[in-house]
């Protein structure tokens, strides 16, 4: 900062050419003779020239900055998605502005507005829980391309890449039904994200198709943490009328559920089946291994990056929504129903 910045002008002077010529060399324009290029490049290197994007920006070059707004970086799934996005953008020669709002709408809005000041090329958005559609539409109105990732805000017309959570949950539920389970609980129902809605719908659909009435006492709404999964599972299973299988909104809850079961002497995968969704790397390593839905992670970053590039190239192209189909990974946490003695409710 204290040392003077080396500018195009300095380079031009040293090389004995005009600044415009140096600029063209930097952009590798075919209009410059090879000999000139070589000469200028030598000087460039010699004086340690560093391109100034802020200045270039002003004259119309793109910023190469992409804003990435994450709902919750601390969740391993979203950390993986972020890492995937970062890698994809890096390969595309983009640089990434990261905002992690930790599910706070005001923080998210604040970040999205800040992005404008930096002339971002586009925004990759994993919306926070209950994001109002206006917040996203505002971006679109500003002509900032937006790709929604993993989650989407209902009613917003933007590109999107995510997983088919509805079908995924349906597959997972069907797996339990096929094992003979008819008493299936759903842990961690969430109404405020698209993922939460879609997964729950898939669960209901599968039950309906099988002609099974679900018990509303087994549909539990609580935050998607391991702690809550643990506690709620214990509470549910200690009740008089407990299910034989638990479909969990995500793996985090499923881990909590498995620990909860074990804490009251129920072996997951034997007496009670547990199925998660996300297939975080941990799920393979548990004992028993967690049956779960394998959904896109790093691949999602790659697809999101590509969608954004396509949109930049052709701003008026039709909206594209890419839905990756999840696969069920069957492990030992799910198994056939075993009739078990009725447990007593705790004395109060």
């Amino acid at each position: 900062m204290s040392t003077k910045r080396v500018t195009l002008k300095d380079v031009a002077q040293a090389a004995g050419v005009a600044t415009g010529t140096v600029s063209m060399v930097l952009n590798n324009s075919p209009l410059v003779a090879e000999a000139t290029k070589a000469k200028v490049r030598a000087v460039l290197k010699e004086v340690g020239y560093v391109y100034d994007r802020a200045a270039g920006n002003l004259r119309g070059i793109t910023s190469r900055i992409v804003g990435v707004s994450m709902c919750n970086l601390v969740n391993p799934y979203f950390a993986d998605v972020t890492a995937g996005i970062q890698e994809a953008l890096e390969e595309l020669g983009r640089v990434l502005f990261l905002g992690n709002c930790a599910e706070s709408i005001p923080r998210q809005l604040n970040f999205l507005q800040t992005l404008r000041q930096y002339r971002v090329e586009g925004v990759l958005l994993t919306p926070a829980i209950a994001t109002p559609k206006e917040h996203v539409e505002q971006l679109l109105a500003w002509k900032v391309p937006v790709v929604q990732v993993t989650r989407y805000v209902a009613g917003v017309e933007s590109d999107y890449v995510g997983n088919d959570n509805r079908v995924g949950a349906q597959i997972a539920t069907k797996h339990l039904l096929d094992l003979g389970h008819e008493r299936i609980g759903y842990l961690g129902r969430a109404r405020l994200t698209s993922t939460g809605q879609d997964r729950y719908e898939g669960f209901r659909t599968a039950l309906q198709e099988a002609g099974i009435r679900s018990n509303d006492d087994w549909i539990l709404e609580f935050p998607a943490t391991r702690e809550d999964g643990f506690r709620e599972t214990v509470r549910l299973m200690q009740g008089r009328d407990a299910p034989t299988a638990l479909l969990c909104f995500n793996d985090t809850i499923a881990f909590g559920a498995m620990l909860g079961l074990r804490s009251i002497g129920i072996e997951p995968g034997q007496e009670v089946s547990v199925v998660g969704m996300d297939n975080v790397s941990e799920s393979a390593l548990w004992q028993p291994g967690l049956t779960t839905l394998s959904i896109g992670r790093d691949s999602i970053g790659r697809v999101a990056g590509k969608l954004l590039m396509d949109r930049l190239e052709e701003p008026e192209r039709p909206i594209e929504r890419i839905i990756l189909r999840p696969d069920l990974v069957v492990r030992a946490s799910s198994g056939p129903v075993i009739p078990r003695p009725r447990r007593m409710a705790r004395a109060s």
Copy 2:
């Protein structure tokens, strides 16, 4: 992009003042009369003006961009640190450029060089494994303030915030010694990061102080993944001469170790004690709970942000290194030595 940008000039025209005046209003300069400010602000809002940082930058305002170079975002500990940094920078009115090199030195170097083009105010760096000191010194030579976070590159004169890993590992080892363990293995020794070196040294020091000779066969070097922790633990414990306690380089390995133990019928916390380091949120939820070292996470982001701000304010201030002291969190995975029957090595 298609719609014309609203500029200062437009606002000035609409408000009937000079552009300089609008600029001063934006910066809330005391030189402008309140009445003028009010008028200009009304226009600002009305026309939907958005400040252009690229232009401001050119005239000497700071970019408010801080580069954050992470070694491995997929590791939950570093994801937490990143989230903490992001939050701290947000509060300081900074915006964050994220690079995640996934322990790749070339990617890291590439990112650090890119940062210069964007006139970053400073860099928060968690160096990748085996980062050459030249890469960091280059930044310093460019007069870009650098704060190293969590890890440091030996011999680099920069601000730093991290944990006292040496003392931490010593405390953890001492805990095992106090429980009567004399046969202590060390899982996941890493030589190429400061964290790896410091923790191992702490372990050795504690043993030495207790006058115990460690068995080199129990010092295992392998990547810090759960898979490796699992495999190596099984291998180690099935040997003829197995330790009674395992100190693990981090919690990830410790989880693998606990799963590995259980897979061969050894209950962690009973027959064999397991201690981790990091205290990731998961460790409280395992059964048994993992005894581990609680080290700074989000707090580290906060401190790093503050260090950077101090450096920006006073570039010539002496180097500051802030070392947070870790605390041991004792849970059920560690307990007193229990003599156990000698296991047979597997027939080959």
